[in-house]
């Protein structure tokens, strides 16, 4: 077996410790890691490996356990990351398990689930960790056999002597732990991978299918009370007074308290506190700023007319090429607020005592949230402990830990262990929405070439980041300008799956379809030509790879037989680079009962090496159906300061019958893996809009389509 020599980074992998009687622990830096489930077999505190953020344990029976600090929100890192370690360590997959290390902001670094970055950042550290441990086991066996380590090989948890003799890893770990950590290791060649690139089932499947208590919502302990919360109904209102007399009469209600701008009802179970909440009477001082979706629309139009925009990026001289253009094409694309609607509503357990703040529940940003809790309660950071569990969906909502702080504040006031539970209505109406946004895009055309590209964003609260100017069409069009105009609002906004690009991709990829139509070029060919131009102008700041981008477009066009469809089937293409991955999609639309219906999605993805085929497919399919459901149906509206849609009878999400047939291809790659939790979502909506245009000539520029366009399923 040929291998790659590799000098390991001492910061990545350093220390080994013997555990009393149970095995050996290696300290590792995964940078970003995975995980869930409460089990605490080793005392991480006692190890004092402050510089590490994860641990690998090899037990005397040869089983391997990976302790990792990061949250599992359904993105599958809990399965994929251990696969990488197991590959280089060379152990059988069913001898590996993953355990959630208890959270400690002093011991661990960068404990975040977000941005589809977990696998990308941890790829090399995980491989190095596995390979280094393997090398130490080989060295230990070689010493016992009194032969050179190079003579030994490994196979599925054993070091193998050239004559065929074997020693199990479990029998070697104690000796291996006394050896120096090698400076030089051999990583496997990617073509020799047997675990990475295979399909492994979600490691929590057994527990999920029998209803084990895995989630924060499922947690309870002796003496715990329940809390429900009332936020001001209108964004920006100030709580003035509370009349809790009726609420306190509700069965099982123990107390009603007022804190910050909120009211909490405390009681003996979730239902009782929900009932108590309905009986609370509160008065608020009204926010004079009218928060209203329609008014935002007007202000956005005004901004396009006469607003002062802030430059976010771009190159060349846009005003000059627009002045000299033969033709200027201009379009506006619009998106509503979106709630995250994680299936598990916000909740958190808190127990604040004189010496500790114990917290447990679903959070994507435990480290930062622990700091905020410390600040809110005026406690020392080291007194705040967060225990993590499997999370019932994230989509960006649980990057914001406001509900964790609320739970801690409630426990602090009542001096009891408490579980705060949001109702679906609390969850849907109290904000942290995907910002409402409009994009105006203009192209300057000269001699049938696109010479200038000008994108203006008008957005509530959160502007696009400047780096987006280095995405496509950077390099393909010589003069570009990206500008933003921000409307400040009391409506809480936050990242939502594939922040910014979840709608920017729709605007851009619809616009290029419109350009192709205006210029009478095939939309696939147009993209390939533009990327050819980009390849010529490639530079270091360019975020994407024109060649890899072309490859996914060609692949999807081939899979979908672009241009050769059956009669009555109409196609639309869209391609987008995000989270370091390149994705191209073709939607097929058919007309049924005079309405366009999406019948099939083809998708080609280049995310480098696919670590877990089964998990990757699940993520990719999920991103596609999620993108489709939201583009067709979903929106949050705000009227007179109040969020209008409060539960799933009003807020429509994609369901079973909306999910079209899906065909996904992954590009064969030897490149390091990149993001997959998000990248299949951004391009999807434009593939539909472009296919609908091909089908009936209607151009969908405003989401959700089912309400604003002719799409109606």
């Amino acid at each position: 077996m040929e291998s790659t020599q590799h000098h390991i980074d001492r910061k990545t992998f350093l220390k080994v410790a013997v555990l009393s009687g149970t095995g050996v622990v290696f300290g590792v830096n995964f940078l970003q890691s995975c995980q869930s489930k409460k089990e605490q077999p080793i005392n991480l505190e006692a190890l004092e490996y402050n510089e590490f953020n994860a641990y690998i344990e090899i037990a005397l029976n040869g089983y391997v356990t990976i302790y990792a600090p990061n949250p599992e929100i359904g993105q599958g890192v809990k399965t994929a990351m251990p696969m990488i370690v197991a590959e280089e360590l060379d152990v059988a997959w069913d001898h590996v398990r993953v355990v959630q290390a208890n959270l400690d902001t002093k011991k661990f670094k960068r404990q975040v689930a977000g941005g589809s970055q977990s696998i990308r950042f941890s790829w090399m550290p995980l491989r190095e960790a596995g390979a280094t441990a393997r090398q130490m086991l080989v060295n230990a066996a070689a010493m016992e056999w009194n032969i050179a380590p190079e003579k030994c090989t490994t196979h599925q948890g054993f070091v193998v002597h050239p004559k065929g003799d074997k020693k199990g890893y479990g029998d070697l770990v104690l000796k291996a732990a006394t050896l120096e950590v090698p400076q030089k290791i051999t990583l496997k060649k990617t073509e020799d991978f047997t675990i990475v690139g295979s399909g492994k089932h979600n490691v929590d499947n057994f527990k999920i299918t029998q209803g084990d208590a895995l989630y924060g919502m499922d947690y309870s302990q002796e003496g715990m009370v329940y809390a429900a919360i009332l936020h001001p109904e209108k964004f920006g209102d100030i709580l003035v007074s509370v009349d809790a007399s009726e609420a306190k009469k509700v069965h099982g209600v123990l107390d009603v308290i007022q804190f910050n701008n909120n009211i909490a009802v405390i009681g003996t179970n979730t239902w009782n506190v929900f009932q108590g909440k309905k009986a609370v009477k509160a008065t608020y001082r009204e926010n004079k700023n009218k928060e209203d979706s329609d008014l935002f629309d007007n202000r956005m139009e005004q901004a396009f007319e006469s607003g002062k925009f802030k430059k976010r990026g771009g190159k060349g001289n846009v005003s000059e090429v627009f002045a000299k253009a033969d033709q200027v094409i201009e379009r506006v694309y619009e998106a509503p607020f979106l709630a995250h609607n994680t299936m598990e509503p916000m909740n958190f357990f808190a127990h604040v005592t004189a010496d500790k703040v114990n917290l447990k529940g679903p959070i994507q940003t435990p480290e930062n949230t622990a700091k905020q809790v410390a600040r809110a309660l005026k406690r020392k950071e080291e007194e705040v402990h967060i225990e993590m569990c499997r999370i019932g969906g994230g989509f960006g909502r649980r990057l914001i830990g406001n509900y964790v702080i609320e739970a801690a504040q409630i426990s602090n006031l009542i001096q009891k262990p408490v579980k705060l539970v949001y109702s679906r209505e609390d969850d849907m109406t109290a904000g942290y929405y995907r910002p409402k946004v409009k994009y105006k895009i203009k192209a300057a055309i000269k001699n049938n070439q696109i010479t200038g590209y000008h994108l203006q964003e008008v957005v509530v609260n959160n502007m696009m980041w400047p780096k987006l100017a280095n995405y496509f069409p950077e390099g393909a069009i010589p003069n570009t300008l990206f500008e933003s105009y921000r409307i400040k609002s009391n409506i809480k906004t936050a990242p939502w799956r594939a922040p910014v690009t979840n709608f920017l991709a729709f605007a851009e990829q619809s616009f290029f379809d419109e350009l192709a139509n205006e210029l009478q070029i095939d939309p696939v060919q147009m993209r390939l030509d533009l990327l050819e131009e980009a390849e010529k102008n490639k530079h270091d700041d360019m975020e994407y790879s024109p060649r890899r981008f072309q490859a996914v477009i060609k692949k999807v066009a081939k899979d979908a037989q672009w241009g050769k469809t059956k009669e009555g089937v109409y196609q639309g293409i869209s391609a987008y680079y995000s989270h370091n991955s390149h994705v191209a999609q073709i939607a097929e639309v058919e007309i049924k009962n005079n309405q366009p219906v999406v019948t099939k999605i083809y998708c080609a993805i280049d995310c480098g090496i696919v670590v877990n085929k089964l998990g990757a497919m699940n993520q990719a399919e999920g991103g596609i159906v999620d993108g489709l459901g939201h583009a067709l149906y979903s929106e949050q509206l705000v009227k007179d300061g109040i969020a209008v849609r409060s539960n799933f009878h009003q807020y429509k999400l994609g369901r079973m019958k909306d999910a079209p047939e899906i065909q996904i291809s992954f590009i064969d790659s030897k490149e390091a893996p990149t993001g997959l939790g998000e990248p299949t979502l951004p391009p999807l909506a434009a593939s539909i809009a472009n296919a609908v245009f091909a089908a009936n000539g209607n151009r969908l520029r405003k989401q959700p389509f089912a309400k604003n366009g002719l799409y109606n399923s």
Binding site: F206, G622, F648, R655
Partner: protein
């Protein structure tokens, strides 16, 4: 009010107001937390249980009207986590976050008890009421088909 109810073949007595939905009795009183809270208004299916074998949304079911009906939750669906639907769910690797899946499994198992040989359209129809925010619908559809195959093999 003292109420007796039979869950997973065990009789329990709870002391709660009669209008308390079964969901919260299961979760907070009996600590059977496999049945999930998603919306509380009958729209998502996360709270699905069987009442005398019939699929029922426990978030809308006042505990007082259950009377002698037998409740089955995900914890009691099979002895060894080996109901054909559970086996199929693992084989197809359906879950992402997993939060909706108990409700999906309860819905699918009640449906297959009524219809042993469903068409693709019937499967979609039966599962349409359950939201999966992670959008694992394609795998849910395949897993229900797989469960049909598994059942056919085991009953032969």
């Amino acid at each position: 009010m003292e109420i007796q109810l039979t869950v997973n073949n065990k009789t329990h007595t709870v002391d709660v107001p009669g209008e308390t939905p079964l969901l919260w009795v299961l979760r907070d009183e009996l600590k059977l937390v496999g049945t999930k809270f998603g919306c509380g208004v009958g729209q998502c299916g996360a709270c699905s249980v069987h009442m005398d074998g019939i699929i029922t949304r426990s978030c809308l079911l006042p505990v007082s009207i259950i009377d002698k009906a037998k409740i089955t939750t995900i914890e009691g669906l099979s002895e060894k986590n080996n109901h054909p639907v559970q086996l199929a769910w693992r084989e197809i690797d359906v879950p992402q976050c997993g939060y909706c899946q108990a409700g999906q499994i309860m819905t699918a198992s009640a449906f297959l008890a009524q219809n042993q040989n469903p068409s693709q359209e019937e499967i979609k129809e039966a599962m349409h009421g359950n939201i999966c925010r992670c959008a694992t619908y394609k795998r849910i559809e395949r897993a229900v088909q797989t469960a049909v195959e598994i059942s056919k093999k085991t009953t032969k």
